[in-house]
C-alpha cells in the first residue's frame, strides 16, 4: 500500500495535468482557494483519483478536505480500511 506522502506526490502530478494547472503545488496547497477549482471541478478531479487508486471516495468525505495532504490522508485511510 502506498504511503500518504507517495499518494500526495501522485496527486500533485495529476493536478499538473489539469487544464487549470498551476506550478508549485505542494502538500500544503489549498485545493479550492489556491487552485481556483469550483465544486464541480473538484468532484470531477476526485473521480480521476478514484480510478487511479481504485478506491471510492464518498462525497461526504470531501467536506473536511482543504489541502492536498488532507486529500492524500483521506485516500490513505480509505485504502487502509479496504485492505484491513
Amino acid at each position: 500500500m502506498p504511503q500518504t506522502n507517495e499518494i500526495a506526490d501522485v496527486i500533485i502530478d495529476m493536478i499538473g495535468a489539469l487544464p487549470q494547472a498551476k506550478r508549485g503545488v505542494t502538500p500544503e496547497t489549498n485545493i479550492v482557494r489556491d487552485l481556483g477549482l469550483d465544486s464541480l471541478a473538484v468532484m470531477n478531479f476526485v473521480m480521476t483519483l478514484e480510478d487511479r487508486f481504485d478506491v471510492s471516495i464518498p462525497m461526504d468525505r470531501l467536506v473536511g478536505i482543504e489541502t492536498v495532504a488532507d486529500l492524500a490522508a483521506t485516500l490513505s485511510n480509505l485504502m487502509g480500511a479496504e485492505r484491513a
Binding site: 469550483d38 465544486s39 464541480l40 471541478a41 468532484m43 470531477n44 473521480m47 478514484e50 480510478d51 481504485d54 478506491v55 471510492s56 471516495i57 464518498p58 462525497m59 461526504d60 479496504e82
Partner: protein, 407 residues
C-alpha cells in the same frame, strides 16, 4: 462585515452577467398569453424556455377542473397530509399515477424537487450507497446530502464506469441505489437505460429513474424513457414532476415495492410540508388524462422538436446528441452566451441561459425547450432569429456556402 460576506464572489459574478444587459435570473413576464407566448418588456415574445412540453398550462378542461376544485374545496389545505389529513383529490391522483405506471403504489409530493429530496434521503440510509450520474439535477445532489447514505458519482451515461464503482463496493455491506434521469435537462440527452438496468441486475442494486423531463414526452404511452427502453420490470422507483408536461406544480414517486407506503411516516420532506392545494390536484388529474388519451400531443411535440433541432443543426450550430424537446446550443464562451441571450430577448425570443457550473463540461448553453403548443411559424421565427444572431456573433458561418468552402 456581515454574515452575507461569503457571497461577495458570487455577487461579483452576478454583476458581470447583469452588466451585459437584462438579468437572466429574474426575467419578468408582463403577461402570459398562452403556453407559447408572453408579453415581455412590452413586446410579444415567443416562449422557448419554459419546459411546457405538451402546452397544457392553458388546457380548457384542466382550467375548469381547477376552478371547480377551488370553489368546492377551497384555496389550500393549510397543512401536511399526516397532520391535517388527505383530501379525496390527493388519493385519487395517487391511484391514477399508480395505474398509469402499472405500479402498486404512488406518493405525491408538493414539488418535484421535494420528491427527490424525500425519496433519496429516506430510502437509502446509513450504511447504504447511492450511485448517481455525475450530471444529475441539483435536487438529486441535495436529496443525497440530506440523507445518511454514502454517495458516489459515476461518469455521465457510462454504464461501465457505474459497474466499476459498484465492483469497488463489492465487499462493503449495505444496499445500493443507482440514480439516473430519463432526459438530462441541460443537453436533452437520454440515459442508456437498458445497459444500466443490466448493471443493476448484475450487482443486485436498486434503480431510481427521474422522469422529470420525459413523462408525457417519451414512450408509446408517455410513461417516459423507462417505457421507451422497455425496462419497466427493472425499475424500483420512478420520480417525476407535475410542473413540466403536466403544466402545474408538484412531484411524485411510484414503486412496486410492497412496503412503499411506510415512507409516508418516515419521509420528512413529505411529512413536514403542506400538501398540494385542490386546484393543482384537479388540473394534474385532467392533464394526466390528456397524456393517456392523446398520443397525438406527443407526436406533435416530437415533430416540433425535430423541426427546431434540424433547422439549427443544418445552420451549423453545435447541439446536444439527439433530437429532443430540449434543444441546447453550445456557445463558444460565457460572454458570447450572455450577448446572444440578450439579443434574442430583444428580438422577441425567450429561452434559457445556462452557465457553468450548472452545465456539463463547463459549457455555456442557450437552452430551449420545445412545446407541442408551438406553431410551425413560431418555431421558424425563433430559428430565424437564432440563426441571424448566430451569424452576426460569428457563432456559425455567414452562409452555408462559406461553410462548404471551409470544409
Amino acid at each position: 462585515m456581515t454574515i452575507l460576506d461569503k457571497f461577495k464572489p458570487l455577487q461579483a459574478a452576478y454583476e458581470t452577467v447583469r452588466a451585459a444587459g437584462k438579468d437572466p435570473f429574474s426575467v419578468r413576464f408582463d403577461e402570459v398569453l398562452s403556453p407559447s407566448e408572453a408579453v415581455m418588456n412590452g413586446r410579444r415574445t415567443i416562449l422557448l424556455g419554459t419546459n411546457n412540453y405538451l402546452g397544457l398550462t392553458f388546457d380548457r378542461a384542466a382550467i375548469e377542473a381547477a376552478a371547480d376544485a377551488v370553489r368546492r374545496a377551497g384555496t389550500g389545505t393549510t397543512g401536511s397530509r399526516i397532520a391535517n389529513g388527505t383530501y379525496g383529490g390527493h388519493a385519487d391522483l395517487e391511484r391514477r399515477l399508480a395505474d398509469f405506471y402499472g405500479c402498486s403504489s404512488a406518493m405525491v409530493f408538493s414539488t418535484g424537487y421535494q420528491a427527490n429530496l424525500g425519496i433519496l434521503s429516506t430510502v437509502a440510509g446509513r450504511g447504504d450507497h447511492i450511485l448517481i450520474d455525475a450530471d444529475s439535477h441539483a435536487s438529486i445532489y441535495d436529496g443525497c446530502r440530506l440523507g445518511q447514505a454514502e454517495v458516489i458519482r459515476f461518469r455521465h451515461n457510462d454504464p461501465d464506469d457505474l459497474a466499476r464503482r459498484l465492483r469497488r463496493l463489492k465487499d462493503t455491506p449495505g444496499n445500493r441505489l443507482i440514480v439516473v434521469e430519463g432526459i438530462y435537462s441541460m443537453l436533452g440527452d437520454t440515459a442508456p437505460l437498458a445497459e444500466i438496468a443490466e448493471v443493476k441486475r448484475e450487482w443486485g442494486a436498486h434503480l431510481l429513474v427521474d422522469e422529470a423531463h420525459s413523462l408525457g414526452v417519451l414512450g408509446d404511452h408517455g410513461r417516459g424513457l423507462v417505457e421507451e427502453a422497455g425496462i419497466e420490470d427493472d425499475v424500483d422507483f420512478i420520480v417525476g414532476t407535475f410542473s413540466k408536461s403536466l403544466g402545474a406544480v408538484g412531484g411524485f414517486c411510484v414503486s412496486n415495492l410492497p412496503d412503499f407506503d411506510i415512507l409516508r411516516i418516515a419521509c420528512r420532506p413529505y411529512m413536514f410540508t403542506a400538501s398540494l392545494p385542490p386546484a393543482v390536484i384537479a388540473s394534474v388529474i385532467r392533464s394526466l388524462g390528456r397524456v393517456e388519451e392523446e398520443p397525438g400531443l406527443r407526436r406533435k411535440l416530437q415533430d416540433n422538436a425535430s423541426r427546431l433541432y434540424h433547422t439549427l443543426k443544418d445552420a451549423g450550430f453545435q447541439l446536444g446528441p439527439r433530437t429532443s424537446p430540449i434543444v441546447s446550443i453550445r456557445m463558444p464562451s460565457i460572454t458570447v452566451a450572455i450577448t446572444f441571450w440578450n439579443a434574442l430577448l430583444d428580438a422577441g425570443v425567450y429561452l434559457n441561459l445556462a452557465l457553468p457550473p450548472a452545465t456539463p463540461d463547463n459549457a455555456s448553453l442557450l437552452r430551449s425547450s420545445v412545446s407541442a403548443a408551438h406553431s410551425p411559424a413560431q418555431l421558424d421565427a425563433a430559428a430565424e432569429a437564432i440563426i441571424r444572431i448566430g451569424r452576426s456573433l460569428d457563432v456559425i458561418p455567414e452562409t452555408r456556402c462559406l461553410e462548404m468552402a471551409v470544409r
